[in-house]
Structures are given as structure tokens and as C-alpha cells.
Amino acid sequence: MANARVNVPATAMRGEIIEIRTLIAHTMETGFRRTHLGAPIPRNIIKFFVCRYNGVEVFRAELHPSVSANPYISFSTVATESGTLTFQWSGDNGYNATESAKITVT
């Protein structure tokens, strides 16, 4: 699949509460598994997810190994003004991914 997918309504009324759904491809290796030879497989997860609305942080999540592979997170935010929502995922081994979506608020 595409690396990251975000679902944000293209338009909304001012003050409307909109639902945002996000999905990103990532194995979320827990750090608790071993190879068939018994060697530990090191942890490799996304640790932080941040949503910014025209640069202002409106939502954040802290992920741990219990989050399933290809993390799916949905949340809501108030449509305050037109602009851009940016999404950032960061984690182990310097992992960093971003995605963005525009919204028109009337």
C-alpha cells in the first residue's frame, strides 16, 4: 500500500467536529520476538504521531509495541479555519514520515 494514507474531509463548516483517519505502513517490530535461531529481533516501532492544524498541534499519540503493525489511528478535531493539516510519524532508527491534507472551512 501507499506508505501513509490520511482521510480528512475536503470541506467543513466552521466549528464542525470532523473525524480524521490515518494509516501508515510499518512493521512495528515489538522487540520481543526472536529469530528461528533464538536471537532477539530488535525493536523497531513508530513512537510518536502528531497532527498539526496550520502549524498548531491539535492531537498527539504515543505508541508502544502493543500497537498493531500498520498503525491505524482515528481521532477528531474542530474545523476552525481553512488550511493544511499535517501528520507526522517518528520512531526508532530515526524513522520519520509526513503526510498532509488541505481543508476548506466555510
Binding site: R34, H36, L37, G38
Partner: protein, 729 residues
Amino acid sequence: MKIIETPKVSRRSFMVGSAAVGSGLALGLNLPFGGPSVVRAQDGSPEITAWVVIRPDDTVVVRIARSEMGQGTLTGLAQMVAEELECDWSKVTTEYPTPGQSVARKRAWGDFSTGGSRGIRESHEYVRRGGATARVMLIQAAADEWKVPAAECSAANSVITHGPSGRRTTFGKVAEAAAKITPPKDVALKDPKDWKIIGKPIKRLDTVDKLTGKQIYGADFKMPGMLNASIKECPVFGGKVKSFDAAKVMSRKGVKHVFQVGDSAVAVVADHWWQAKTALDALPIVWDEGPNAKVSSAMIAATLKEGLDAEQAFVGNSAGDAKAALAGAAKKVEAVYAYPFLNHAPMEPMNATARYTDDKCEVWVPTQNGEAAFAATLAASGLPANKCEVYKIHLGGGFGRRGAFHDYVTQAVRIAKQMPGVPVKLLWTREEDMAQGRFHPVTQCKLTGAFDANNNLTGLHMRISGQSILTAVRPEALQKGMDPATFQGVARSGEFEFGYAGIPNLLIDHAMRNTHVPPGFWRGVNINQNAIYVECFMDELAHSVKQDPLEFRRKLMAKNPKHLAVLNAVAEKAGWGKPAPKGIYRGLAQMKAFNSFVAACAEVSVEGGNKVKVHRIVCATDPGYAVNPAQIERQIAGSFMYGLSALFYQENTVKDGRIAELNFNTFNSMRLAQMPKVESIIMPSGGFWGGVGEPTICVAAPAVLNAIFAATGKRLREVPLKNLGVTLV
């Protein structure tokens, strides 16, 4: 007598029954002030406890959570409830509660899973208690009506009698009143020595319908308006659908839809199943075969061979210092054995019927675990639990394929979701069932024994190389990467404890070599190959120092009295040590599995060096308690049929990433005429509960292999024997 009713417990009546008192709805619901509300079956008959419904005509309906798949658990569980209930056995019938009802009632019936030979041994206490509690409530109801102390009343054959006055009534008459009594806690259970029904060879409750053809299986299931589906998943495991050309088949008679199902399968839906199947055969499908398209059995065998001598391995059992014992041995004996992938090949191919709307998703399916089928339904439908239901149907064979895997349920729901409101029956072809199995894992084994100068066995190293089941199926159960299931039958302790504590230096380890072939639990699981590995090698060791195989074993089993007891029992009954009839040769095997101790002595004759006739197998089992001895005898014989078919005829090989054997012409089975006489010694020693469905399967093959050696002097170390030119007469 209708034996299995899929209860349509009126959702309203039981939901109100389990909700807070005072909701005051529903037909026929009594809400006595301050008392518990009555839960009712669809015909209005009251539940006494969740396990027991009593009808006015004294019919007793026993709720059974586990699944009947020919192993007789249904009857055994009913016997246990009836024993404590003190009801008239001739009026007992059974019913499967649904997993939806179970979830809504906080799992009133406990675990639904039927596997691991657990059906009776894990539920016996609480089902007996369910029956006992109902009996106490029924007696109390009669006593209340007569205004006498309950202690002066007793129950037998569904009749309650007041001792002093001789007054009598029946269960049916007091059921309503009994259902309103608060169930007592901690009712005492009968002492096993007082059992009247448990322990008796009672006729099974399901036989008649099966013989008359009345029994409905999933493959027979019909519903009004139902369509039929045939499906094909990418035959290379891990592959996906790239494209398919539905237009090529849509105009065929009866064909209604062609759907992609998930990532990796395509289904055709038609009026009749044959129309769907033939359309699917004609449908052009392009697969993206994925990374495993070139895997072959030869490649897998090479990987396994490397594991036999690898440095790293997971240690499952050990004592002393086997490596030192081997290094310092006066004499060493070594052998390598191999055991293949096996498909379960139940007579009834995988199937499930589903109907989906946004308000309700229902599935009718033969399953070993109603709750797991329900979980698959929830996940595939996306609906909440209170909008889903699964109705269990009798299985035409499970053997482990229908316990942990509900891929066919997921498929059926995914198809049904694409045609809301219309029930669709998904039935796999035999080829699909063979190709998309969950296979007994492939392994090889190198065994090395060390002897001192006086021919005492001082050490044993058993190196298993091959596939782990749990890594694929339940990685959470691995212990620092090790798969404990690999060591069934050769474990340190517990239900699968190794039977030769007298070997002073021992190392049993596993070089894990996984493949892309999806593994599963084949009846008996890893005891099948472990029993061949151990028991054939013990025989090899005995012969290498010219000792009698029975004596050789006995010397190592002083600390394994229960293992020894079953071994001695078969040896004695078979006449080991006494001359056998001309041309007849004997072989022995023993193991502990699923908490039962089992042993076998096989008698074979061999003609022309390779035509084997198995004349007789004497088998002994100590399962702790024996609920239905007649049923145990049949399970022993049935398990031998399954295990010997595998020994002589069965393997699944991999070619171009896919399974090569797609029907019974290449995956054969024993026939009735080839079946040996089976003599069973059922010797429950009490104090523990062991399984029956699986344990004995593992001892037939090694006993026969050892007997063949006795007859021919040739040691056979690869299975199936057809590959070595050996035939079964």
C-alpha cells in the same frame, strides 16, 4: 429423537433473563419479586442451570459447548451431566448453545474449543456441577411444594421421591418452580465409585441419525434463497490475486457473481454449486505467486538436513551431560528419521454458510470451536458481537483442521458482505481442501545413543530438525523463541512427559527450520513423529546390544510406573516373550500424551520382504478415568486407522511452491479390509484426567515399524512406507 438442535433461544427471553431484574418484558418471562428471572429455551421450557433445560414431558436437554466430530464427546459430556442430575437417560437430548449467547451470558458454558483431547477432561468438573446443581434445585422445588425438608427427598431417573411419605413427582412437573430457585453454590459431586452412567459403555446419542442419513452436515446445509459458492485461493502460499477475467464466465447458466475475496482468493457464486465450481475452473485467474513460487520439497529437505548438525538448537529436555556421554562412549548408535507434511483430509471439505446485512451477520458452520468461528465472523463482518451469530453444525471430520483455523468462515462472510441479504454456502472442492490445508509440520530427526563397555545406555541425544507450529499459529506461546509443542511426548514433565527417566544423560533439542507451508494441528500433533523417532530408535538401541526390546525399555522406566504399566499390559496380553504363531512378528511402543499413558503391541507378517499385513494391535490406555469405555475402544481403533493410513500412504510434497497431492488418488487411505484386529485394554488408574481422542494415535505406527523390523531385519526410517516400496496388504 432430534439429537442436535441448534437452539434458537429467543434472544429477547434470554437477554431479559440475563439483564437486571425489573425490565419486565418478553413472553413467558416470570419475574418473581426479588428472585432470579427464568431463562427459557425457544419452546418456553425453563433452564434449571445453563446446562440443563427440562421440558414438561420430562425430556432433559443438556447443553453441550464442545463440538461432536465423531469422537463421542457429545455423548460423554451428556453422560456426565445426567449422572449428577439423576435423570432418565432415555429422555436425554442435547443442544449446542451458540457462541453469541455464550458471550452475552459472560461465557456461561466455558470454553467451546474442542481439540487437544480436552473435551471431557477439561470440562468434566463444571459440567458435572451444572447437573448436580440442577438436581439440588429440582429436589428443593419438590420439597418446597410438599413442605418437607429437602434432605428427606432424593432423585433417580427423573423422579423425585420423599422417603418418609413415599410421595413422588417428576422433573418435568417441578421444573418451573426449580428454575426460580437461587442456584446453590459448591454442590458436592458424586464419588466416582458411585457412578451409574459414567464409566458405562452407553450407546452414543448421535449414531442413529448418522446411520439413517438424517444427520445434516455443513456440506448438506440448505436455506431458502441460498446461493452456492466455490473458491480458489492462490495455490502458492503467500501469493495474491493479480487479476481475473469475470466476463469469461458471467454468461454461464446459473452464475451470479464473481468476487475477489481478500487479497488472495477468487470465488464464483451461482444457483447450484456445480455451476459455481465449473465456472471457477474456467475462470482465467492471474496470480502474483509471491516469493515462494520456487520452493520444493527437495529444498526443504536440504534445510532440515542442515539442522540435524547445526550448532544452535532449542533444548526441550535434558539431564546430565549427553554430549560428554556420547564423546566418552564405548559404542555409539546413530540413525536419522524423517516425517512428512500431512493434510487432515476430513471426509467433509471445508465449508461455511453466511448471510450478511448491516444489521446482522449469521454463519452456519461445522467447527471445533464455536467461539473461534464467532471471532472470525466479528472480524470479517465488522459488526459488533450483538449483531453476529454462529450456529454450529455437526462436523464430517475435524482432526484439528477446524479448531484453530476459520479461514473458510472469513471467506464466507467476505462473500456474503458483497451480496447483502442473500445466504451463500461456500463449499471447497477436495482439491482446494488439499491445497489449502494447515499441515502437520515436516521434520527430520537424528538420534544418537551411547553405550558403556557393559552395554548400558549412558546417553541419548535426540535432535529434531524442522518446522515449528506455534511460530506461525501462536507466537505468543513461544518461550524465548522455543516452541514447546515440538517436544510433545518427550517433555521434561507434565502431560507429555518422556517415559525413560532412567537415561542418565539426555539431550532433546530442536533446530527450528520453518517453511512457507502453513502448519496446523494434525490429530495427535507432534507425538506422531516423536513416537516413531523415539520408539523405533529405542528398538534399534536394544537390537544393537542384542537385548529384548521390552527388557531394554523396562530397565529405563523404573521411575515411570504409569508408562511402564501400559507397556507391560500390552506385552502381557499380546504374549510377548512367548512364541508367536508362525510368520507373526511383534513390535512395541509407548508414550505419554495429552495426560494419558498409552502403549501398543503390533503383530505383523511380511511377505516378499515388503508386503505387510497387520494382523492385530493390542493397545492399552490409562486416561485416569474412563467415561465411556465403548467409546474409548472406538477412538483407539479410529486413531489407528488414521495413524496407519499416514504411515503407509500419506505425505504432502511441495512443488513450485504449492502442494502436489490434490486428491485421494495421491493421498490414499487404508480400507476396511486392511484394518487389523484391535484389542483394547482400558486401565484408568484414577486421580487424574487424560485425553482419549488423540493419545493412542501415536503408538500404532512405531509398533508396526518395530514389528516389520522383527520380521525382515530391515529398519524403515522414512514415512510414508509407500516411498520405500512397502505395501499394506
